[in-house]
């Protein structure tokens, strides 16, 4: 018959792993059968009366029944886990053990219950905060974003910006740079209490795109400038991007994602931790997609900025519409700035509400710049 131990016994002369033994509950107490150390076929037994036992709950999760007593060879500790043995023990135990047994059982129940409660609360809180961060509750994000100094935002954006430019062919001077600088000055002059120092770079690429990074870094591709029939159209895109920065949209997105990822990495014990998350985000800054509400906000504030700067705001609307109609799928700007008819309509209505104002033209000749 094979030996099927059901408990571990610890004692001074046993190794620290404990000695596997077969426990039998009998009328007077417990009998433990051990295999002999020297000969596996030989067995020896020890008995202990109930009167000498003290019991408690123990083990890693406090879910094992621990019985201790002092035998002839010193202190003995028995770890019981098998539910059948524990049940038999509780039935056979005399009165003086009933109270400690109940206390041990109560302890086990308490540990389980506390764990369940803690997990329910934490699970609920996690779920609520993740859901809250993910859907709608922008209040929380805005509160967090408000506490982040502009200086941090600038550093975050700058590293991604320099990284990106290092791999691109940048247009440093020329009429196009002068034109974009003029547009930017016209726009930024109209921003009261501007905490950002905007840096705008033109990148030589046929990609029809422009994007803004947190901290005031804006990249415009020559492809987008070629597509524009009037300078007001480029100014419209610039006004839109400037407002993504001013409204701190990028930061809001990061806080949202960071919150989500940080929670996940803590829960799953992710070794690279937050450092890795931050690095990952540096990459993602480039492909950052803004939410629909953020796009609308940037559109509307952009429109007002154009109006204040006396640049014809209709350029913005017509450019968006033209891009959306003709080049769907090929214009990158649209993949990060999804265009919809509703968005253009909204802008038109907004524009109609503003009193008419004679726009002031730019000092440069757009056609010659575009051709170059």
């Amino acid at each position: 018959m094979s030996f099927q131990p059901n408990a571990l016994c610890f004692g001074d002369e046993f190794s620290a792993t404990g000695l596997p033994c077969l426990v039998h509950v009998e009328g007077h107490g417990l009998t433990m059968t051990f295999l002999s150390d020297s000969d596996a076929s030989e067995r020896r037994s020890e008995s202990v009366p109930f009167a000498e036992l003290t019991v408690s709950a123990g083990g890693l999760d406090h879910d094992q029944l621990v019985a201790t007593w002092t035998g002839p060879t010193g202190q003995r500790t028995l770890y019981l886990k098998n539910p059948d043995v524990i049940r038999a023990f509780r039935q056979a135990a005399p009165d003086h053990l009933t109270i400690p047994l109940e206390r041990a059982a109560e302890q086990v129940r308490q540990v389980r219950q506390r764990r369940r409660i803690v997990w329910t609360i934490v699970g609920g809180a996690l779920l609520a905060s993740v859901l809250g961060l993910w859907f709608g509750s922008d209040l929380l994000v805005e509160l967090a974003v408000d506490r982040i100094p502009i200086e941090w935002e600038r550093k975050l954006g700058e590293s991604a910006y320099r990284d990106f430019l290092a791999r691109q062919e940048v247009m440093k001077e020329g009429p196009a740079v002068a034109a974009v600088t003029e547009m930017t000055h016209r726009l930024t002059d109209q921003i009261p209490e501007n905490p950002y120092r905007f840096e705008i770079t033109i990148v030589k690429s046929d990609v029809v795109n422009a994007f803004a990074l947190p901290g005031g870094y804006i990249v415009v591709f020559t492809g987008l400038m070629k597509k524009a029939e009037r300078p007001e159209e480029v100014a419209g895109v610039l006004a839109h991007e400037l407002n993504h920065v001013l409204q701190r949209h990028g930061l809001e997105r990061i806080v949202k994602q960071l919150g989500f990822v940080a929670v996940l990495s803590i829960v799953l014990g992710n070794p690279p931790g937050l450092g890795g998350v931050m690095k990952q985000l540096g990459v993602e800054l480039m492909t950052l997609k803004f939410g629909r509400a953020q796009e609308t906000e940037a559109d509307l504030t952009g429109l007002q900025l154009l109006y204040r700067a006396k640049i014809d705001p209709s350029g913005m609307i017509t450019f968006f519409q033209r891009l959306a109609e003709k080049d769907e799928g090929r214009v990158e700007w649209l993949s990060t700035h999804p265009m919809s008819a509703a968005r253009a309509e909204r802008l038109k209505i907004e524009l109609d509400l503003l009193p008419r104002r004679e726009p002031v033209p730019f000092s440069f000749e757009w056609r010659t710049i575009r051709e170059k």
């Binding site: 059901n6 620290a16 404990g18 803690v118 934490v122 070794p271």
Partner: protein, 227 residues
């Protein structure tokens, strides 16, 4: 099933001899070489969901490989990914061990592997995450570590303090609390230890002589940053 550790030290390998019909499950990718009588099968231990939970919750591999001596007796050579010692444990059907997520190398078929959720404080501060592996059943269990393995034997009520990132495995008869390394919060972190585990016997605690996270941070500074 017999096992022998070859080249003990930093780069060991373990040779497992299988009789005909015997099999062993090992971490995916652990097999180095084997006799031609051995068949390699891939298996999702605990079914698809079990494997999925193990993959996502403990960071262990999704598949285990099963090495089966189906066409006669043979031997298998197994090695872990990281440099470090291999320990052989013999599970007797009663003893159970909790194993840190990267610690499993291989186990006999009688060994059961579960992912188990830890308590809130242990999961949050223990550095192992909320889910760790629990090994139970009967048979040979091979664990691997990063660096050398040190075995701490605890008598009943004996205590020992271990830095949490050095844990490899511990028996379920032990219990531990997580505490700050020093009495003050600031000193706890400036001492470089952060949180430690106060273990209480009886039972065994296996620790590794190197901290994988610390090593990773050290290596990171030498990696050139280019895209």
């Amino acid at each position: 099933m017999k096992s022998e550790i070859l080249y003990p030290g930093a780069f060991p390998m373990v040779r497992v001899e299988l009789a005909e019909g015997e099999h062993i499950k090992a971490e995916s990718g652990a097999m180095v070489a084997c006799s031609p009588t051995i068949d390699i099968e891939s298996k999702m231990e605990g079914g698809f969901l079990g494997a999925l939970s193990r993959k996502f919750l403990t960071g262990e591999k999704f598949f285990f490989q099963t090495l089966r001596a189906s066409r006669g007796a043979g031997e298998v050579l197994l090695a872990p990914t990281v440099p470090g010692e291999i320990v052989v444990l013999d599970l007797d059907g009663v003893s159970e061990y909790m194993v840190q997520k990267d610690g499993f190398l291989a186990g006999a078929d009688g060994v059961t592997i579960d992912s188990q959720m830890q308590s809130m404080s242990r999961g949050l501060l223990g550095g192992e995450g909320f889910f760790i592996l629990k090994m139970s059943g009967k048979g040979m269990l091979l664990l691997n570590s990063f660096g050398a393995v040190h075995k701490i034997e605890l008598k009943p009520a004996q205590e020992y303090i271990v830095d949490n990132s050095h844990l490899v495995a511990w028996s379920t008869t032990t219990s531990y609390n997580i505490e700050k390394a020093t009495s003050g919060w600031v000193a706890s972190f400036t001492s470089g230890e952060g949180f430690v585990c106060r273990f209480r016997g009886p039972g065994l605690v296996f620790i590794q002589s190197r901290n994988p996270g610390g090593f990773g941070a050290w290596v990171r500074q030498f990696i050139p940053v280019t895209e």
